[in-house]
């Protein structure tokens, strides 16, 4: 199981591979039938878990609250029940002072459920920051081909830390939307290399948006999560003031370019072609994080 690429696995398979064997206890499992009431009105089939599997597990013996999105189900998008399960899980993490880990695979709000998914994501953000204030670790794992976009992209960035693989993407507007808006000349959504250079794990890692960049394997993802369990990442005046300076500097340094290669070069990548082919782990080893944030 550890050799199958993480991005090819389904959510339940990822959970089984990442958690300590047999440790996952699902909360509101399929027989509970906690499902969407909106989708049937639109003639769309429901799913027993509404595309979000939640539960408690252990990782290397440490308890975690774990959520995993099902990308195949309406694009992993977030509706009323999906987000309510998520908020309940994050609040459980805050209550019990147990780390919250989420395997993200989502385009954002579920359009078919309109504003209810949007409000649900907003509630999830409040809950995540409540965890951070309480010193509870909140870890987003972004390694699927769908990535973390829209409201889920913002949510992922709200978590205290992020594990990414070279397959994962973190953004707000997706490639097709960008192409529609800017035109194909300005951004070709069929250019996969460009898309991944723009939003993918390697660029995010170089800029400091991903705390850990790992190979596309469940062993590596599991190790990446474990390395972050002890880092609650609270927000303080000191930390956000430093972030303000860092993000302003990033805007100044790269705000006029459209070419992600400029970021790579500025970060010390000399052979861009080779770096593009490297696995997440290889890339991170070649370009280790500096001790101060970049």
């Amino acid at each position: 199981m550890s050799r199958v690429p993480y991005h090819e696995l389904k959510a339940r398979e990822r959970i089984a591979a990442i958690c300590d064997r047999g440790s996952f206890n699902e909360i509101l499992p399929p027989p509970e039938r906690v499902m969407s009431v909106f989708l049937p009105e639109l003639g769309i089939p429901v799913s027993f878990d509404d595309g979000l599997i939640i539960g408690r597990a252990s990782l290397n013996g440490s308890p975690v609250y774990l959520a995993a999105q099902v990308g195949q189900f309406v694009g992993g998008s977030v509706g009323e029940v999906h987000s309510a399960k998520l908020v309940g899980l994050i609040e459980s993490a805050a209550r019990d002072k147990i780390p919250f880990v989420m395997l993200i695979e989502s385009g954002g709000v579920r359009l078919h459920e309109g504003s209810s998914g949007e409000i649900g994501i907003a509630e999830s953000m409040r809950a995540v920051f409540a965890c951070r204030t309480l010193g509870v670790a909140t870890i987003a794992v972004i390694g699927s081909d769908i990535g973390a976009y829209g409201g889920m992209g913002i949510f992922s960035a709200c978590c205290g830390s992020r594990v990414m693989t070279e397959h994962g993407r973190l953004g707000v507007s997706g490639p097709i939307v960008i192409e529609k808006w800017m035109g194909k000349q300005a951004f070709d959504s069929s250019d996969r290399a460009l898309i991944w250079k723009t939003s993918g794990g390697k660029t995010r890692y170089l800029l400091g948006d991903a705390d850990v960049l790992v190979d596309d394997s469940t062993d590596a993802v599991r190790a990446g999560i474990i390395s972050l369990l002890g880092q609650p990442a609270p927000v303080t005046l000191g930390s956000v003031s430093a972030d303000q300076q860092r993000l302003e500097a990033r805007l100044v340094q790269f705000g006029k370019t459209t070419n992600p290669d400029d970021i790579w070069t500025a970060s010390g990548v000399t052979d861009i072609a080779a770096a593009s082919l490297a696995s997440g782990g290889e890339f991170a080893n070649s370009y280790p994080k500096k001790s101060s944030a970049q």
Partner: protein, 104 residues
């Protein structure tokens, strides 16, 4: 959306103790999810199908009847959410769900 229920005779399945459900598949394009639970009459498999591709009931019933004949599924309630899976995929998911029950 099309919904229907149908039971078929099936050799009894001894549900492993401690197991109360198994799930296979995912609701997505050309796919389906299958939930198996105990609670049907011992010599009967009960199917509850919801599909977003109406008009294939005959094909469904044939596949479900076939499966009930070839595998011991008696005593099991099977609930299906389908988004246009082909018969071979339906059968595969039923087998996967059953497999998870028998060989966890």
């Amino acid at each position: 959306m099309e919904k229907f229920q149908k039971s078929f005779p099936s050799a009894p399945l001894a549900w492993p103790s401690g197991k109360t459900w198994s799930l296979a598949g995912v609701v997505g394009s050309a796919n389906l999810e299958v939930l198996m639970e105990p609670g049907a009459a011992a010599d009967s498999a009960e199917f509850d199908v919801q599909t977003s591709f109406p008009g294939y009931q005959d094909s469904w019933l044939a596949a479900l009847s076939d499966f009930s004949t070839h595998y011991a599924l008696g005593g099991t309630k099977v609930t299906i959410h389908d988004q246009g899976a082909a018969p071979v995929v339906i059968t595969m998911r039923l087998r996967q769900a059953l497999d998870q029950l028998i060989h966890p």
